[in-house]
Symmetry: C2
Subunit: 664 residues, 2 copies
Amino acid sequence: MKGVDHLAHERNKTEFDVDAMKIVWAGSRHAFELSDRMARLVASDPAFQKDGRTRLGRKELFKNTLRKAAHAWKRILELRLTEEEAGWLRSFVDEPSFTDLHWGMFIPAIKGQGTDEQQQKWLPLAYKMQIIGCYAQTELGHGSNVQGLETTATFDPETDEFVIHSPTLTSSKWWPGGLGKVSTHAIVYARLITNGQEHGVHGFIVQLRSLDDHMPLPGLTIGDIGMKFGNGAYNTMDNGVLKFDHIRIPRNQMLMRVLQVTREGKCVQSNVPRQLIYGTMVFVRQTIVADASTALSRAVCIATRYSAVRRQFGSQDGGMETQVIDYKTQQSRLFPLLASAYAFRFVGEWLKWLYTDVTQRLQANDFSTLPEAHACTAGLKSLTTTATADAIEECRKLCGGHGYLCASGLPELFAVYVPACTYEGDNVVLLLQVARFLMKTVSQLGSGKKPVGTTAYLGRVQDLLQCCCDVQTAEDWLKPSVVLEAFEARSARMCVARAQNLSKFENPEDGFAELSADLVEAAVAHCQLIVVSKFIDKLQQDIPGKGVNQQLQNLCYIYALNLLHKYLGDFLSTGCITPKQASLANDQLRSLYSKIRPNAIALADAFNYTDHYLGSVLGRYDGNVYPKLYEEAWKDPLNDSVVPDGYYEYVHPMLKQQLRNARL
Amino acid sequence: MKGVDHLAHERNKTEFDVDAMKIVWAGSRHAFELSDRMARLVASDPAFQKDGRTRLGRKELFKNTLRKAAHAWKRILELRLTEEEAGWLRSFVDEPSFTDLHWGMFIPAIKGQGTDEQQQKWLPLAYKMQIIGCYAQTELGHGSNVQGLETTATFDPETDEFVIHSPTLTSSKWWPGGLGKVSTHAIVYARLITNGQEHGVHGFIVQLRSLDDHMPLPGLTIGDIGMKFGNGAYNTMDNGVLKFDHIRIPRNQMLMRVLQVTREGKCVQSNVPRQLIYGTMVFVRQTIVADASTALSRAVCIATRYSAVRRQFGSQDGGMETQVIDYKTQQSRLFPLLASAYAFRFVGEWLKWLYTDVTQRLQANDFSTLPEAHACTAGLKSLTTTATADAIEECRKLCGGHGYLCASGLPELFAVYVPACTYEGDNVVLLLQVARFLMKTVSQLGSGKKPVGTTAYLGRVQDLLQCCCDVQTAEDWLKPSVVLEAFEARSARMCVARAQNLSKFENPEDGFAELSADLVEAAVAHCQLIVVSKFIDKLQQDIPGKGVNQQLQNLCYIYALNLLHKYLGDFLSTGCITPKQASLANDQLRSLYSKIRPNAIALADAFNYTDHYLGSVLGRYDGNVYPKLYEEAWKDPLNDSVVPDGYYEYVHPMLKQQLRNARL
């Protein structure tokens, strides 16, 4: 079967330079080459193969992950990979593990919140993995509201130690990845108490397990919190529970970059600005947005390829049936997701720039853009993760019945992805933060304070309240300025209307609570505008490669006009467009689908995913779906024997009417 | 802890008679008592406990299901349960198994498509479970398009037999539940060929396995198709693959109620009307709608109770935090789902009536209402299953992080439910059928043919194209006639607009294909109208019990006005309502949420689910969530040992910098 390509006829239709698009997708030639090299390295290493992961019981699955994590680390050392390369390698191993938290949360927390001495002491140990760390923030009874955490860290001036304690069951740490079975250390968040006074929640470095025999230290109760959604998926991770019974740690294990506790137990603010925390948040959320485009594009790649393989109905005179990708119903569900993958990629790229910009300003003590940057990343995290979770499930449905098989890869992709809607800020809570920022921005418009960055358009609110969309033909919807204005006007008008409604309440907080669902809608409108405008900005760049810009234009308008169709109520009720114009947008959308259709497979190929990384029989590059699905079936443990375990105890007595006497 | 009720303060707020509501929900006192008795029977039987199902490997899981199925059958025999009671018992065992297909598809297929002699021969065997049957229709390459099936059944006049054969890999039967490991027989759908001529797809009774040693009969390749989405979930079912290599069966094993093949191989139509098949479809889909309301209400029950238990933010002066159910953002997501559960329940109830009506008419050779009934059930199957799948996931998200734990019950509920969107007609394909019917109905309006049943409103299309919504205050949205007219006008106008667009195409089929995504939207609007109107009809009935009708009214308007808000684009673009009226509807919606809030827990209690059936720590009746979550965690196999399997091979060498020499 080597060399078979059932999708060759599709690839021959391509109207653009796929290799050039791969570089656009990756962000740069450097990023492309690096990720391509690492993806192939992982895919070609038998130790990293994924086969059968969804069939393993919890213990085997977890042990297998420990093996892969160790193997990955061994390869990283052997090949002397850079930090960037190592990051790519781990991501292509594509299995959540304790190392994610060690590298992604434990080390950054020490770097961000530790003093120079603390960094000098702990980072070398962590970088060599002589200690393995996790990030213990959430508790059984406390998630989003960090200030509500119950764990206490009480300073004992007698011994110069902190006493870490879980005063209640609900204060048990709950969820931290890597905590349950592996980590030797944790950053523990607890309420700081000195001299009988509370000083808010702070981070402490706490050793959890012996570095010799791995037993939990006295006073700690630690375990895994049990099975999570899906086969394989996050069950490779030891999310944990942790109870403290008056554990003592030296004073210098409180992370003291921002607030210091002296030998006497006095709290002293350092001159390091607290705003640094927001800088970290911008960083983390930018990563989440990038991950959203990755997860979404994987699902889209699978669904697109399989939609070209699968045929159903439409056969005439016994000929081949129609490829399902040729149905407009399929196109109208699939192509907007393809467009979203690209849209999220580009907004993620822009967020990387934003993070650099914010960091530079922070270093220059310029905090002016921070609130806007914070609101913007919070909103984009929410928007992209919600859309991606929904999109993966939609892609699964687009694959019909076979999408329900683990062999399609989509069930695991969904199950492993959905926590992104909850962690690092629940998506609704984040949108409320965005709404709060928008309402503040609107309320200050009269005061001469000029809105910046992604809210700059609100400075033109008077124009936007009055502008009239002048679309007269479907073609008019292909003008960037027209699309942008429609989205700006929609968002601005929604913001102003919400602000007016809020002003009717005597107590603004009551108003905010009562109208919160409406406010969330305004926040969504604002965030969608950001994604659309960054996509349009991208098109203005000089993008080399035959036909590449044209394809991106098509995708950009599909993304925007599909949103316009989906949120038509917003656009019409604010009077931004007329029903007739909406109908023209819909016509244009159909025409764009036809333009994308011959390029769909190539646009999915441009993600440059190996079959290993995709992990999907339906999404195979060569489209050789059915024989491989058939092969895959026989690997199920149930097929180990022809007659299943339990037949003689349970089924045979039933068939032979001997059940009354059977012991079950 | 016995007798603890953390939700007692919630239950004390209730403003209606919960016991009376339980009967409304069940449909009758008889149905309530029966289901209540069976639910308790199952819940109190240790053999049926669910504990740990999501932690089992495939083989153990499957064996456990065989045990439960045998135990259920044993209890059914011992207690001499009626068919109705047995059905309830099986449904409360709440675990997909081969018996579902035996009772739900194999037996009904013989009853519906078998001749009297065939029924006399096979049904007694099946009723006693001396044989176990499945329903083998879909193939690896063929799902929705039944006429495209490839399996052949060629009549051999020499031996008076059919030769069943799989000519290609894609013709392998694929998906049938119960096929993989258990069934002794199957109804196999195959293309009938006699005398070299094709006669369409028909059903054949084929023995699969020896009744002695359970080995597959010669010429058959049978196995399980492998893991499916989720933990536990449908992995308790042996969905199977089946290849035929020229299997021979006697001629009298073709189901011949409608078409007979004579000894000479001639095809003879019987005088039984083919339309009977549609009667069966109406029946099956009515069951699916009822199941949707069950699945949705389970998810809603869990999310509602946990939303009252969970507190987050809003604490002042160290007091308790706010229950998350008190946030308007939570209410605006949760309460429409609560309302949908009731809405789907009542439309399901009405479908039961419709099935009786259709059956009576069929018996009187009256086929006039069949197309409308068929379109209506197809549409409602699509609408309710799509909404339910989305709603379960939304409920999971409403439970925050803990919803992601299998202990919440929601991951398994989702994974086990989602196939309903695909089986018995892919939901988009079904909506296209509805759209086709609607377009036909509209095109015939001029001809004097009066639309019937759920399409009767299209007979008033001239009025509906011109009517003006006269809502002036938020209170006006509580008038049934106002709400109904808005939904009728929206649907009628969308249908007419689509019909006009279609008429612009020379070839109607081309137009239908090109505009199919728009047509699907019209079908959705029509189906939503049906649900709203049946809910309003329900309110007109005499419903006993203090406050019950009032609560149902609140739910009905929440259902309708939330749809209006969500599909605002439809209502505004067709000019059915104004933006101002939409805004009033939104105000009314908020006020309805406040009215439902004190009754929310009781409205979830009215579903009368046992903790066993809910299978959710978060949804426990007593609200004692945190201690039980904590307990549950320790049951995970990973917690069997303090130091995990694999630590010494993989983690210790990493910590000790000895990885270079380690064998992984």
